[in-house]
Amino acid sequence: MTDLLGVPPALLFGQLLVGLINGSFYAMMSLGVAIIFGMLRIGNFVHGAQYMLGAFGAWYLLRLPELLPGLGLPSLGYWWAFFIVPVVVGMIGALMERLFIRRVYDLEHAYGLLLTVGLAMVIEGLFNVAYGAAGQTYGVPDALKGGINLGFMFLPIYRAWVIGAALVICFGAWFVIERTKLGSYLRAATENPDLVRAFGINVPRMLMLTYAFGVGLAGLAGVMAAPIYQVSPQMGQSIIVTIFAVVVIGGMGSIFGAIVSGLMLGLIEGLTKVFYPEASTTVIFIIMTIVLVFRPAGLFGRETSSHTVADLSSGRVGSILENSRLWLLILAVIGAALPFVVYPIFGMKILCLALFACAYNLIFGYVGLLAFGHAAFYGSAAYVTAHAATAWGLPPEISIFLGICVSTMIGALFGWLAIRRQGLYFAMITLALAQIVYFYAVQSGWTHGEDGIQSVPRGRLFGFIDLNNSLNMYYVTLAVFLAGFAFVNRIVRSPFGRTLKSIRENEPRAISLGYHADRFKLIAFILSAMLSGVAGSMKAIIFQLASLADVFFMTSADVLLMTLIGGVGTMLGPVVGATIVAVLQREFASFGAWVVAMQGAIFVLCVLFLRKGVIGTLEEFLSNREERRHSALDEIKPMDRSPLSQTAEADAGGVR
């Protein structure tokens, strides 16, 4: 047998087939994500969980007699599942849309992101409680058993079926959307839902059905995947971030782009496995990076009209809650007393998370960019610091400095790549970039894979402060936190910060005034990455550990949650939010396997009921009270409603 390009042909074709299979699933999944994003403007992070539901649905149907004994139900095989499960999963999707997703259509993308991440955590967490990490096997249906010998390779019939069916389904969906009447309703509703309603079309119901359809596709992919991969609660989580990268490469919202790039990237991934296996998990993210540099809208994406950045800030100028000197003092006093109330290690955890959240708030709250990859900065700094202190035996201050340097450099690179996009695009891109760091940490030798870097020596700070003493460590952490907190507030109140504010409120206007908006955003992003690095480096020294959890995307979701719970764009919000999340995590720790599901529920509840965050809600209360006091004063004087003021009112309404 002759080798092709130095590789045995059986291996080459075998991996190409695996690539094509993976590509088929990527295509079906990213098609669903693209449809949902295109029509509903929701980044459907629960897509992976819905795919998992499909696989479990097929498995349930097979085991009906065991699951519901006494009803005399038959065991329903693959073909039943193929038709029943997508419908059921689609209906579950419709219900989710009705109950949750509908509520965030008009809100900023951050809420949809957190909501769908939360829902995914709830679903996957519950299945994890029920089935653990072990995978269930699902047999190939009888009709599709066996294979064909093509001479150069053996082709299992089931795999050929998956590829064929996926292609038919994908192009069928593309045809419906691009070439039919129903599709024209969908496309029109994407552009101007109100007008389409005014033509007599029930747009809310159509959006619900669209979501159900996208979710049904995920369910179908799950059924088709069941005989190939193991049916496990984690199967969706491991694919979802890749799916989002595929959608970004194809061009967000481009149906055709999602299908083609799904298949193509599956193949490329297969080829990478043959020629350079180390890169096979990251190759998609690397391609995404390259695509973003040359075609920011994606391969098939149309350049969308410029989105404005998100202005979620609930801070109020001049409020007592924004008085940085006062609160720096109060926080210093509370912080100094804290180790006498709680364990110092818990206090340090709060301080670390609070600093991390302050750093995140700088980019999310004050610039309005929905970053979703801050785990990369936090985690890389933690790893570098841990490695420098452990393997090189460097003193803590040098280790921390090195960690911060690395996170700042990564921040500069990621920022440069991502800054040209906004909104959900920005979130996807930062997420995918962070994922490269994650997979690097998984594979690289010096990070010790699953174990992480353990037993990091705390050492002596500047040679004389023994950090092994937990109170010493605590007060150093407090000092670092206070410095970080003051630094962020200094930035926000500087001319630079005011420019950021003007960009957040009206970017085109800021640009027309001569500001290089992108440069300002990039600097803020780098500062945010740097401060996240400070938090990550401190964390590595405090807990004497750097692990995969630090770079995992849930860390990015956690920091977003902390900022939201506390109050976006407020001075105290991140601190309050970090405290709440740290306390909740500690309380939940005793629930064992339920933690993930409960944390997910917190995400969902926070999006539904606490959108302004604690500080934002407090600000609202304070400003209402102030207003009431003013109007009480006004009532003493007779109200003077001149016709002039009425005109102004009507004008303000009319010009909308």
């Binding site: 009447k181 309703y185 007008l195 005014a198 007599g200 747009v203 009507a650 309404g653 009319g654 909308r656």
Partner: protein, 239 residues
């Protein structure tokens, strides 16, 4: 709430208030439209004319008051329900969909009643649309887009049309063409409620004129009162 006198009107708007967020746009608007009539809402920018149309169409969420159409209360109905009752809306910004071709744009609104204008007749009225059938909707000129926006709602069988500034920003020759179309629609028995700032254009077509100021109708003129009232209207419009 003021009493709803049903003096043969097909649409009665009574004591209509509407808000956009915190700011109030309509302050108790009252007017009615009789079947086959063309009523024009005149008024300055920001007076609340567009808001009135949007409220009738169910596109303004915060509102109070009564909107009766063909003996049915519509003020609490969603837009899709109102459209199915036979009211069609042509927005000020025309609302041509960029991701749809001219043909798809034209065929987008579902037919809600029989008696809509057949496609041949639409082509006779707007020959340009036939020629540009497969172009992207927003590649049309402003005048063509306006024609597409009007043509689009004639197909559906709706007999009550809300037109928001159909002549805004168009060349005089196009304005004449649109005036001819509207005249023809009147002859065919359509009922029209039109917002217009171009008083000279509206003067030739309308049966009645409602002057809107500060979110309410401050005065109404019939066409036969026009000569006497022209000066007054010009004062209202500030021209």
């Amino acid at each position: 709430m003021s009493k709803l006198e049903n003096n043969g009107a097909i649409l009665t708007v009574a004591d209509l208030h509407a808000w956009y967020g915190e700011s109030k746009a309509l302050h108790g608007m009252n007017f009615h439209v009789k079947p086959g009539e063309l009523v024009t809402l005149l008024g300055r920018n920001g007076a609340g004319k567009t808001t009135a149309l949007r409220s009738i169409m169910g596109l303004v969420r915060r509102k109070s008051g009564a909107i009766r159409f063909a003996d049915e209360e519509l003020s609490h109905r969603p837009a899709e329900f109102i459209a199915r009752r036979g009211i069609a809306y042509c927005p000020e910004e025309r609302g041509i969909f960029a991701s749809l071709s001219v043909g798809e744009n034209l065929e987008l609104p579902p037919v809600i009643a029989t008696g809509g204008m057949p496609i041949d007749e639409i082509f006779a009225l707007f020959p340009n649309l036939k020629r540009r059938w497969s172009s992207q909707g927003t590649k049309l000129s402003g005048g063509e887009q306006q024609m597409l926006a009007i043509a689009r709602i004639l197909r559906t069988g709706a007999k009550f049309l809300l037109l928001d500034e159909p002549t805004e920003g168009l060349a005089p020759v196009i304005v004449q063409q649109i005036a001819a179309v509207i005249q023809r629609l009147k002859e065919q028995g359509y009922t029209l409620l039109m917002v217009e700032q171009n008083f000279r254009f509206a003067a030739k077509l309308a049966d009645r004129y409602c002057v809107v100021e500060h979110g309410r109708v401050v005065e109404t003129f019939r066409r036969d009162e026009l000569d006497a009232a022209t000066h007054k209207i010009e004062v209202y419009l500030g021209v």
